[in-house]
Assembly symmetry: C2
Homo-oligomer: 573 residues x 2
């Protein structure tokens, strides 16, 4: 009895401990070689009774979650609204489609993430269907199929609104896509694909089917040669080769994977050495890559594409089409853009501080937004006038150097231009000789800076950008009071004083493209590329470190190990 | 380059190895404390060109899978038909409902199981909708929603048919159950419950809801006080207490779990000490156990039950009802029973060799079947006559002893009766003194054996029974030729010679009832009961050993560890 009541008490105490305490106990029990799980829990939030600003965050994707994780200031009451109560590690979704990694391993409840932050954060599972920026209010609705007797709607007032709703799969209005194709943007979509793949194999193995029908069912068509489409095609190929071929030996020769890309190459955003390698590898693997193929229609049993080169229209019978061509704006965001007078833009337009144009307390980040970087040439006159402190009508080197830092900070395209043209600094732009004192007038100034704007590029809609924006914005919020008093941003060229914050600056850390067969391509800054098996291990380590919690880290690594030993499961659940 | 091409080659060779080889390599790499996974693969099946009998197996549950796993003879071509392409470890389904264990960890593809057996086994994912026993044919249909252009139907001829289709949840025709309640018999039903539980918490946390609505949403009603209902109620309680209370702290006091049982006690099939303990534990845990409550109706928002004692009708508001009251026959089985003239029976009737009554080449096992054990009193005259070798009209001890073994084998109720009445052997039944030669006539014989039939009980519809039946039947099939020549069964009392096989004899190994809070009750043969934390560890070890593959064993143990360290996930996927 003594042991059992000790056990009972110890068990209860143990269960009430935070994860870190539990793991310390477990680690001291588990011998060497066991898993080490260290969970960095923060102390509980202490409620200060000061007047807090109300921040409403819409979305629980990369941008929203990154923002929430990095909020440390107790000056805000934060209310998160999203139809999805978890964060999903989207780069691993192609791995989920074939069971390399389980869906549960790549998701983390948003409540669990925000609980650890120590800041007062509420969450409501609902969709925001209307933003009333004039009255600082958002209108939300829990899903329509909930039996709440009409109580699904509510509104929330805000002092600051952070829109991080993301985008949605873009069909380009191609007929039949919505009805007959699978998307690969959310966890439930990845699970649907997984279910369908096994279902197609089971159907194809029915004794009543002729061979032509089996081949049609086992024809997988992937539309979109970007990283998602390429990675999915590679995963599917490995799944068929390594797992399905053993369980459905009579069917493996009927499987065909086709990848349709409208452009001239797959992985267009990568270095061409990577593109070439990928295309050759896919050719060796038997994946039919059709470049310059624009899909015109998706039917229940076949997909029709027009070949740009020949103008020919080709029909491919299919068992499944996976559509991964990129994203477009969500209807709620389009609606809000109209309200603000933002028309004909692909996403919600913000300034370089992620603040929505036309508003002073609404921010937007991630896939739903795009930064409207001001052009140097738009502001050239005011820049010159700001720099020309003695109003002489001419700029000498000293005056110029005083504003160079602010110019580069305010207009990041300048820096990109300098690097691309291998110029050491802005002074080189002025193209004078090694004189100690360069003097230029405004016309010369304009001429010299006329090309920097050519380096302006919109930021890609990637997880990396969204995550960095979330960190940046949280940092601004955390230090808002301080920066109101002591602004740290660049000079206001069209106003007085300085901006409160430095503008958002994206730092590209590289990108991966897994190509199957334990080979990955990586492109890192500085034109450094790496392709092959060792890069696959780099991919494993980076993705392990990027997991949002120790639980998912543990599970993802466990899944990779499990797949290595036991293969992928093909139970149709 | 040399390393990378070596790696590439090694990787390819490694991937082509069977699991056992992979694990040997991995083990030699992983240091002490790593996981040991030993997979017992069998050599590939060699096709013999002899004429094989065609066996069709309907179902991939405990009975069907156990049969397939134990088939070793190469004399058969086996074709398995089931709408489910995997085996599910159903005793762990209550653990799946709350995320203690993941769904993927308790399933194994049937193709994977049969591949290891070394016998020629095909699988088709379809439903059998008609059995034509006169023509030895089954008619099957792949699911209706498949786009196969009318090719979903096919038929299969058989020499032997094994029906192992299981049962379905029995609603007892209670109105509203099908529309508004959750069942807990299949993996997808367990996942639906999991999704719904989190959904109810999310809805209850919306700011627009009054407290009464929150309480209604968080009222969970479980119908059925058997092991499944009790285990689910216990799991749900632990999930709320250990995980949801942390993420939804404002809601934990609104949660109510009610367990409705029509009988006088929960866990009726267990020893009353276990029943008592369970009822007290649930009372301490705050689970409202209402005994003698018969559900009369399930509505969208409330469930109505009649209390047998008072006759009062009570309505309980609910957010979710889980119905786990037992099973009934599937429509296809009922249809087949009508064909055979079996009416008013709860399941397909077979003889003691699992052969369907009215057929000589159709077998039925598991939940869909029930053994029609012949009564001793039905055959008393022929037994006596068979025993009375010298036709003297009287039985002496020696003649009696010659048939005792066969009687006990043929009529297992005799053995149960002897044990219950603490009689040493059958001779004690004859109640004579210690004379060396007992002589009885038929009237005395009838009188002595008249009570043994009172010990006849139908076998319960459990996984244990189904699994043992599968093993038994496979053993019969494996040795069919041999036993045709040299029958090893008991004497045919109503015929000539011996039966080919011994009848099926169920050996009860015990049963568990997990009660939550790391406590389980176990009842083992010989009236041995054990309740508490140590029994929980016994439960862990038994269920680990009973897993159908090393993969699921690894995953289930991993899940228990993961839950211990990180808790259960509540992402609503």
């Amino acid at each position: 009895m003594r042991w059992s009541s000790f056990y009972h008490t110890a068990s209860r105490v143990f269960n009430d401990c935070p994860s870190w305490a539990k793991t310390v106990v477990v680690c001291s029990v588990i011998s060497s070689g066991g898993l080490v799980a260290y969970c960095d829990a923060k102390p509980e939030y202490v409620n200060h009774e000061s007047k807090k600003k109300k921040v409403v965050v819409l979305g629980t994707g990369w941008a929203g979650t990154s923002f929430l994780k990095n909020m440390k200031s107790n000056s805000y009451d934060i209310h998160v609204v999203s139809p999805r109560n978890y964060f999903a590690f989207t780069p691993l979704l192609p791995s989920v489609t074939c069971g390399t990694v389980e869906a549960r391993s790549v998701v983390e409840p948003i409540r669990s993430i925000t609980r650890k932050s120590g800041v007062n954060i509420h969450f409501s599972e609902a969709e925001c269907y209307k933003i009333d920026n004039k009255n600082n209010k958002v209108y939300c609705r829990a899903s329509k199929d909930k039996k709440l007797g009409g109580q699904e709607d509510f509104s929330i007032d805000y002092d600051y609104l952070v829109i991080a709703m993301g985008g949605r799969s873009n069909t380009f209005n191609t007929p039949g896509v919505q009805e007959h194709a699978h998307f690969l943007k959310e966890v439930d979509e990845a699970l649907k694909i997984r279910h369908s793949v096994v279902d197609l194999f089971e159907r194809a193995s029915l004794p009543s089917l002729p061979v032509e029908e089996k081949k049609k069912l086992l024809s997988f068509v992937v539309v979109g040669g970007g990283p998602t489409g390429v990675e999915f095609a590679a995963e599917l190929h490995d799944f068929v080769l390594e797992d399905m071929a053993k369980l459905y030996p009579s069917l493996k020769d009927y499987v065909k994977i086709t990848l349709l890309e409208a452009g001239d190459h797959i992985l267009n955003m990568f270095d061409k050495r990577i593109t070439e390698f990928a295309e050759q590898k896919f050719a060796r693997d038997g994946i039919d890559v059709r470049l310059g193929s624009m899909v015109v229609k998706v039917g229940e049993n076949e997909i029709t594409a027009k070949e740009r080169a020949s103008g020919q229209v080709v029909s491919i019978p299919h068992g499944m089409v996976v559509w991964s061509t990129g994203i477009g704006a969500r209807p709620e965001v389009v609606e809000f853009m109209k309200q603000l007078g933002q028309v004909n833009r692909r996403a919600l337009v913000t300034d370089e501080w992620l603040r929505v144009e036309g508003s002073d307390n609404i921010y937007a980040l991630g896939d739903c937004a795009t930064i409207n970087q001001r052009r140097v040439m738009e502001d050239i006159a005011v820049i010159f006038s700001k720099a020309d402190k003695n109003n002489s009508g001419k700029l000498d080197l000293k005056e110029f150097k005083d504003v160079v830092g602010d110019i580069i900070e305010r207009y990041p395209q300048v820096d990109i231009y300098l690097k691309k043209n291998q110029m050491r600094d802005m002074a080189s732009l002025l193209k004078k000789s090694q004189e100690s004192n360069i003097i230029v007038d405004i016309e010369y100034f304009k001429e010299a800076l006329s090309k920097v704007d050519s380096q302006m590029k919109n930021l890609p809609a990637t997880a990396q950008v969204a995550a960095q924006q979330g960190v940046y914005l949280a940092d601004c919020f955390n230090r808002m009071e301080e920066c109101e008093k002591y602004p740290e941003g660049p000079l206001r060229f069209r106003g007085v004083g300085r901006h409160r914050f430095r503008p958002f600056r994206y730092r590209h850390l590289g990108q991966f493209a897994p190509l199957g067969g334990e080979q990955t391509a990586a492109q890192l800054p500085g034109d450094w590329i790496s392709i092959g098996h060792s890069t696959q291990w780099l991919w494993y380590s980076v993705y392990t470190s990027k997991q949002v919690s120790w639980r998912t880290r543990f599970l993802v690594v466990g899944d990779w190990g499990r797949r290595f030993i036991f293969g992928r499961d093909s139970s149709k659940i």
